[in-house]
Symmetry: C2
Subunit: 435 residues, 2 copies
């Protein structure tokens, strides 16, 4: 058997210790598959004394992860420090400069600096791989960049954040409101102490921008992802949606828009209504799922565990095995210089059906005002549910679904109603995805 592939591991949180455990547990199998053993030579983390439940004494300890990038006995640096910039970015740049292969689970760093890093890795002739950055244990980066490589892909979408999906599907099962479920999720470890990145859709936007670059051969544009999280979804929305035949899911969607002159890039993360018959409607709990539509393969679905130490470690080690096999791959499925610069797509002309939830004061004339605004904006209403009695504040929920029409019309209706004292809160608009 060939020489081992030597790796150094920076960051020993749940994913880092998961990687250690995986490499130790499956060592023999991995060596058979990779054609050579994978050997951890050095590890690094902030706190050396912390008990992580794995025996690290057989590996060299580096107080400064930068030391790993200059060790002659290290082939691949595994960055699991986290954070889009700071120490993680310094480490990755250093590793590439020193000719080390680089494996990371860091979606924020790839979303912000992926193009620069890919170009640097190409120039240095080293691998830069990040399967674990998107959808945890699901090999969707590989699935798109290699499995679907023969296809022009015009659309990729899916459930990219396990925390949000856990919250929405638990709200669905229990009827509880957002805040209560979030608190439970934090207690159970499904949501972080500061859950902002997850629940406001930023984490999903990181992942979506990476998928879009790979699927479309487009330059990464994380800055252009239109993002709305799940914190405004109420139990009442989930109840109305169910009555109408839908579940609510936080969906990231990226499309190439060819309606203008040159192709432009549509990227959106938002809660959507998903019809019961759609495969994504059955994705519950912290599961992730990604759908890609290719011009020859048709619709392809990947589904699995979107987070957790085991699944994420599985993706990290799959990347390491690729490198051990001598299969570096192109970072975004093609050389960075080949990626096409695309402007963000306009969205007003997009056709679709929308769900709109109003919280209104319970008094005469309110319904007339809202329906008049819809008429004036040329929005055609398919169905409307006013939910029983007003609450203690004298407010009622009014939910409607529109017929298919341009998004600009719905925006216009919202503009007309802006500041109206009939409304007790800002309306919530959610798109409905097709079968």
């Amino acid at each position: 058997m060939a020489e081992p592939l030597n790796i150094a591991l920076a960051g020993l949180g749940t994913v880092g210790t998961g990687v250690v455990r995986l490499i130790e547990t499956n060592a023999e199998l991995i060596a058979r598959r990779a054609g050579r053993p994978i050997r951890i030579v050095a590890v690094s983390a902030r706190d050396r004394s912390k008990d992580r439940g794995v025996d690290l004494s057989r590996y060299d300890w580096e107080d400064d992860p930068a030391a790993m990038t200059v060790r002659e006995d290290v082939d691949v640096v595994v960055e699991l420090v986290g954070g889009s910039d700071g120490p993680a970015l310094t480490l990755v740049r250093g590793a590439i400069t020193h000719g080390k292969g680089l494996v990371t689970a860091n979606k924020a760093m790839i979303a912000h600096h992926g193009l620069e890093l890919a170009a640097a890795a190409e120039q240095a002739g080293v691998a830069l791989k990040f399967e674990a950055a998107v959808a945890g244990g699901i090999p969707v980066i590989k699935g798109l960049s290699e499995g679907a490589a023969a296809n022009a892909i015009d659309r990729v979408y899916g459930i990219l954040n396990g925390t949000c999906n856990y919250i929405l599907s638990t709200m669905e099962d229990t009827g509880a409101d957002f805040g209560d479920v979030l608190a439970d999720a934090q207690r159970l470890g499904y949501a972080e102490a500061d859950p902002t990145f997850d629940i406001e859709g930023v984490d999903a936007a990181h992942k979506l921008s990476i998928l879009a670059a790979i699927a479309f051969g487009a330059r990464l544009r994380f800055d252009a992802v239109e993002t709305m999280g799940v914190s405004r979804v109420k139990a009442a929305d989930i109840e109305q949606a169910r009555a109408l035949g839908y579940v609510i899911r936080l969906i990231g969607t990226a499309e190439i828009d060819r309606s203008g002159g040159s192709p432009s890039l549509f990227q959106r993360v938002r809660p959507h209504l998903v019809p019961f018959g759609h495969p994504l409607a059955h994705v519950d709990g912290p599961t992730n799922a990604v759908v890609a539509e290719g011009n020859f393969m048709g619709r392809l679905l990947f589904q699995g565990a979107g987070a957790g130490d085991g699944p994420t470690a599985s993706a990290v080690v799959a990347d390491i095995i690729d490198i051990a096999r001598g299969e570096k791959g192109a970072t975004f499925s093609m050389p960075a210089g080949e990626l096409e610069a695309m402007e963000p797509a306009l969205t007003g002309h997009r056709l679709g059906r929308s769900y709109i939830r109003f919280t209104v004061h319970d008094r005469p004339g309110v319904l007339a005002e809202i329906t008049a605004a819809m008429r004036d904006a040329n929005v055609s209403i398919e169905s409307l549910i006013q939910k029983g009695d007003p609450d203690n504040d004298g407010e009622v929920i009014l939910a409607m679904v529109t017929h298919e029409g341009p998004e600009s019309a719905v925006s216009e209706a919202m503009r007309i109603l802006e500041g109206s004292d009939s409304l007790a809160a800002q309306p919530l608009v959610m798109q409905i995805i097709g079968e």
Copy 2:
């Protein structure tokens, strides 16, 4: 850009012409992704004069595909002739001998001769790839052999035959009986004129044996797949299953059985009852889906188009792109010599719930005889449905679901009842899969 990768295409049926169309349509994109153009230099088929809807005049025509294997300008031979032996096998052996890479969609050939061919390809230092042999456009070979490579996988199962799935889900939707739906499927092109390989489960068994070898690192044992097709499933079974909360799907399951001394190989293709809540219950029409369970990644699901010229061509060309990128891969995820020889697993000790359908003569004592046989074999009955009125022959359908127990007990009950003149036909036993 680097030199083109030159390919020669043997077999110009729907998949072969699909490959030509794909390579022509997506040529520019493929060159960006592969880092070099993919160029068809020669084609071959039995009938040169046939109109295939694509212009083949720009490619050399070879009457004898063997000529492709000795052309100096050919890097990769694509075998789409079909058949486990005969001309396809001769062509593939010849290509490998002459140092050509080989891409094929031929599941029968790989199931029967995969080990021999993998060893030959390794020795010659050429790629042997067959993504299109399993589950059409779904990159499941790559997903298991690379994406899930860090995991010990103990179980892989799924819907592997689009024809059977189309028939079962259409029976479900229409209430029609097997024969009528099959005739429709043949008219619509979803089933072949001779559908035996599909409906008797042989095609699914070919695919399952390939998946098992890759997932488990086991030597291929197509001969040991226990196979039963869908031709005995009646509309009444589907109706009963639905009433009990299940759909019926032809499922191929492979597992490593560690209950004995050394690990043994369980491989079975059979119609199963699938609970509504399971992801496979929502796989309708000619779609395929594969689930793999790994010790770190958890449960992973791949779903997509299982057949058709576009999806199959997508998988064939993905393999060609891998070769163009210099990524040959190990044929069964590890060198052929590393694959472990496993004996077929015994099945009697397997625990599970079963559905049993009896067709009985409508007369006193029949139910007593059947339930006594169950008692004597120690099979515990969970529920029992006797369907209304006898048909014209005085026969009635009696369906039951057992509590969990060993398969040997159900077999013993069937043995006791064998030859009983209460039974108008051989009972049908189907396993029920868990959530």
